[in-house]
């Protein structure tokens, strides 16, 4: 037993190295979410832009802030983007979100486990691609959604049902090959429905 114990560090290392080797050149792709085809969980959270950052950074003047809930998603196809200022990859993703928001895509931001002041500063500095930003300082909504980490992007239809989840940075390739086709499909379906009625 004593001898075998000494091999443990080696084994750990080999496993780690194997994972890295196996992953060389592999493309990351989307991971299914438990919530696919389910509605967005109910929530009642303040809108980020209306919060005031006070001395104690996470306290907020909640009574005065507009409260957002899941009806936010009704009537339009949207992306729900989970982001935070502590998230380096979000910084990478941000300019691209600005680009697609400009093309008319409706993006709802979920500011996840973040400081209100820092988040507002971020939007002021790098631009605000979000139609609305939900401020989830405690991470409660993130928990309900099954957020792994930031960034994550959900595709939500006009009835508030989640159709797809992308974990990680949305860049040009991800958008064009996976998200946009699905997004367009939902948009077309919605337009058709509107024309019918």
């Amino acid at each position: 037993m004593g001898r075998i114990k000494l091999f443990i560090p080696l084994i750990i290392f080999v496993v780690l190295a194997a994972i890295l080797y196996w992953g060389l050149g592999r493309d990351p792709n989307a991971m299914p979410s438990a919530l696919i085809s389910r509605p967005v969980p109910t929530f009642q959270l303040p809108a980020l832009e209306q919060l005031e950052s006070t001395e104690d950074d996470n306290l907020m003047v909640a009574e005065q802030a507009e409260i957002l809930d899941e009806s936010l998603f009704l009537g339009q196809v949207s992306l729900l983007n989970v982001w935070a200022t502590w998230c380096v990859s979000c910084r990478v993703e941000h300019p691209y979100l600005m680009d697609i928001a400009e093309t008319g895509v409706r993006i709802i931001g979920l500011n996840y486990k973040d400081e209100v002041g820092a988040a507002q500063q971020w939007l002021a500095k790098y631009g605000d691609p979000y139609a609305h930003t939900i401020s989830d300082t405690t991470g409660g909504m993130g928990l309900d959604l099954g957020v792994f980490g930031a960034p994550e992007t959900y595709l939500v239809d006009h009835l508030g049902v989640i159709h797809y989840k992308h974990v990680g940075v949305v860049d040009d390739r991800v958008w064009r090959t996976t998200l946009q086709p699905k997004y367009q499909q939902l948009r077309d379906a919605l337009d058709e429905q509107k024309n019918d009625s």
Binding site: L10, L20, R26, N29, S53, E55, A150, P151
Partner: protein, 679 residues
């Protein structure tokens, strides 16, 4: 021509490193003194050629030779010449060359300052270092040659150095960090040499300790320079971001810290031997991992690997050989080094064991948090950031425990704490530290919070224990001053480093709990009050710098005396700079620093109608963070200066030198008495 000379010198350095890796080691196996004797001259030769190669790269940078691809990508004819020199290590290829140079430097240092060591030991150590060098030279020459030419059509001018790297702090930060990273290769080489020889005794631990301390001190300085740079340059007012790059440097530091302490036990008591070897391997492995992960950009994107598969495969193969090889050797050989001496659970050994466990758990947490996004990416779960919430959740309580354990542990005696003496030891700090913490907060007029009380109590606890220990150890029949004079530099090193930890803890506690921060919109001549200071916004004007245009604002800062604001005591001028060459906009915060508080003002965006968004911080005790870090590094340096590390021949027993003995219980009394005096 100079580039070719550099390239050629690099190839020669590789040949010498190759010989250095083989001949001396073969000599120890075949028992040929002549072969063993080649270790030192080969090390010198290797250093000379890699130094020539490095000098050549610096020269082509200074000459603006844009036909060299690396220069064209990382320099520009307009770049000031000191930045041209620092641009040498501004990107992948050049920083590898700097790495190799520093490795050759440490190798040379070992060759020069190891006269007291047995010849075969030196030969093994230098051979192992030669092997590492071979790996780096091959990596450079095969995949990342800094001397590659862009012929026949060299560009007219270079692409310029990344503006973020155009900073004085970043000229010295990477070399310091590398001195630390690479310095751990010495401990690693000693560990592998011990495994190869199948021999590890307290003399081995004593040789390894000063090298480990020195490398660790460099690494400490490197890390805190980086943190300081982030504080004044990034304009966010933070000092630690749990960034993958920061984590990559913190991990070897934690492993190195654990190693230093475990070496103490191995030297004094002959215990934890396998564990010490494992930590030596771990510290250097993490340094290698850090270098590659950061430099290859793998941490931000695995695709950096994929875009250049040869590099990725080489790196993995190299890590596999170095880390896998040494761990295999460890698995096969370390059981033959086992020590049997026992210790009581109430002893210095147990304290150091707890220290090691805590440090390694912290290390594992960071490794997990840093690699998880990478592994997730590899496994196709997408790119994820694991943020400060995760790290703070684990690190803060573990850090608190570590500080508490440090206080008691360092005051305990080797082998076994005498019955009843623990209560005597604990009494004063246990009673005084919470009381002092409460008093401190009340006198400063800060609210009492659980977090700050815990933090301050732990820091004061550590300080009180350390002072109490000095008091006890300086007791001497010829008076206390004689007693103080008798204490060894290695003891003072420990004391200063531990007090540094306390100072650091105070800084972190007070800054994170009592910082005042305001993000406001201000118009000219408007005031804002933050934490008893009043900032008067005097407006913004355009200023021209050497290579940028700045919007420079000006703030008069007042303190109130009984509600009345008197004359401003300082004027802060934060700027927003637009660099002409690249068009990059950078925020230059202005800071009024002090031992007890920093006033920090950063200029945000213009909001129209002469209004600006402004961020104002008052950060109490933030400088204590870097002061503490500096004390920690200083402690490491002072410990290296201890004379006993330079005592000549080990085989001449001098009474207080513990010779390798399997059963420590039979060790001479004097050795134990010496051991009790501290490490």
């Amino acid at each position: 021509m100079i580039a070719e000379l550099g390239h050629f010198a690099l190839i020669l350095a590789l040949c010498l490193a190759f010989t250095q890796a083989l001949i001396p080691l073969a000599g120890t196996i075949a028992n040929k003194p002549l072969w063993i004797g080649t270790a030192r001259p080969l090390s010198c030769g290797q250093f000379v050629f890699v130094a020539i190669s490095f000098a050549c790269l610096v020269t082509v940078f200074l000459q603006d030779d844009f036909s060299v691809a690396y220069v064209a990508n990382n320099s520009n004819s307009l770049l000031p010449s000191y930045y041209k020199v620092s641009a040498v290590w501004g990107a992948h290829e050049g920083s590898l060359l700097l790495w190799a140079l520093i490795l050759a430097g440490w190798t040379l240092a070992v060759a020069l300052f190891s006269r007291a060591l047995p010849g075969d030991m030196v030969a093994r150590v230098l051979s192992v270092m030669g092997m590492i060098a071979v790996g780096f030279y091959l990596f450079m020459l095969l995949t990342s040659n800094p001397f590659e030419r862009l012929l026949p059509f060299p560009p007219m001018d270079g692409k310029d150095l990344n503006p973020l790297l155009q900073d004085v702090g970043l000229i010295i930060h990477p070399p310091m960090l590398y001195m630390g990273y690479v310095g751990f290769s010495v401990a690693f080489a000693f560990a592998v040499a011990a495994l190869l020889a199948g021999r590890m005794d307290s003399a081995w631990a004593r040789w390894t300790r000063p090298w480990t301390n020195a490398a660790w001190s460099f690494l400490t300085v490197g890390i805190f320079l980086g943190s300081w740079w982030a504080y004044y340059e990034l304009g966010w007012g933070g000092w630690w971001f749990w960034d993958p790059v920061e984590n990559a440097s913190l991990m070897p530091w934690l492993a190195g810290t654990a190693l230093m302490h475990s070496l103490a036990v191995s030297e004094k008591r002959g215990l934890f031997r396998s564990w010490t070897l494992l930590l030596a391997i771990l510290a250097f492995s993490l340094s290698l991992l850090g270098t590659f992960l950061v430099r290859s950009g793998v941490l931000t994107s695995v695709h950096a690997f994929a875009t250049d598969p040869t590099r990725g495969v080489f790196i993995l193969a190299f890590l596999g050989v170095v880390i896998g090889g040494s761990l295999l050797l460890f698995a096969l050989r370390s059981s033959s080094l086992g020590a049997t001496a026992s210790f009581n659970w109430l002893s210095r050994e147990a304290g150091l064991l707890l220290n090691n466990v805590l440090l390694v758990v912290m290390l594992a947490m960071i490794l997990l948090g840093t690699l998880y996004p990478l592994v997730a990416d590899v496994l196709g779960w997408g790119k994820i950031s694991v943020g400060p919430p995760y790290f703070n959740f684990f690190f803060v309580p573990l850090g608190l425990l570590l500080v508490l354990a440090m206080g008691v542990g360092a005051s305990l005696q080797w082998k076994r704490q005498a019955n009843g003496s623990l209560q005597r030891l604990l009494k004063a700090p246990l009673l005084a530290s919470p009381v002092l913490a409460v008093l401190w907060l009340m006198l400063a007029g800060w609210s009492l919070k659980i977090a700050s009380l815990l933090g301050l109590t732990a820091a004061l606890w550590l300080i009180l224990f350390t002072l109490q220990d000095i008091w006890k150890k300086s007791d001497h029949s010829q008076g206390r001053s004689t007693g103080l004079g008798r204490l060894k530099p290695s003891y003072w090193g420990m004391v200063i480093a531990h007090l540094g930890i306390a100072v650091l803890a105070i800084g972190i506690t007070l800054t994170s709990n009592y910082s005042d921060q305001r993000d406001v919109r201000l118009v000219t001549n408007e005031r804002i009050q933050v934490a008893g200071y009043s900032f008067l916004f005097k407006g913004v004007e355009q200023v021209r710098g050497p290579n940028y245009i700045a919007q420079q604002s000006s703030f008069d800062v007042f303190t109130s005396v009984e509600g009345v604001y008197l004359k401003p005591f300082t004027t802060l001028k934060p700027e927003k700079r637009r660099y002409l060459a690249t068009g990059n906009v950078m925020t230059e915060a202005d800071i009024d620093g002090g031992l007890f508080r920093d006033l920090y003002v950063a200029l945000g965006e213009p909001l129209g109608d002469r209004a600006w968004s402004v961020r104002v911080y008052v950060k109490p005790f933030i400088r204590w963070i870097w002061l503490g870090a500096f004390m920690i590094a200083l402690g490491g340096v002072i410990a290296v200066l201890d004379k006993r590390y330079r005592k000549t021949p080990v085989n001449v027993t001098r009474g207080n030198v513990t010779q390798p003995s399997v059963d420590q219980k039979s060790a001479p009394k004097s050795a134990l008495a010496h051991a009790k005096k501290g490490n």
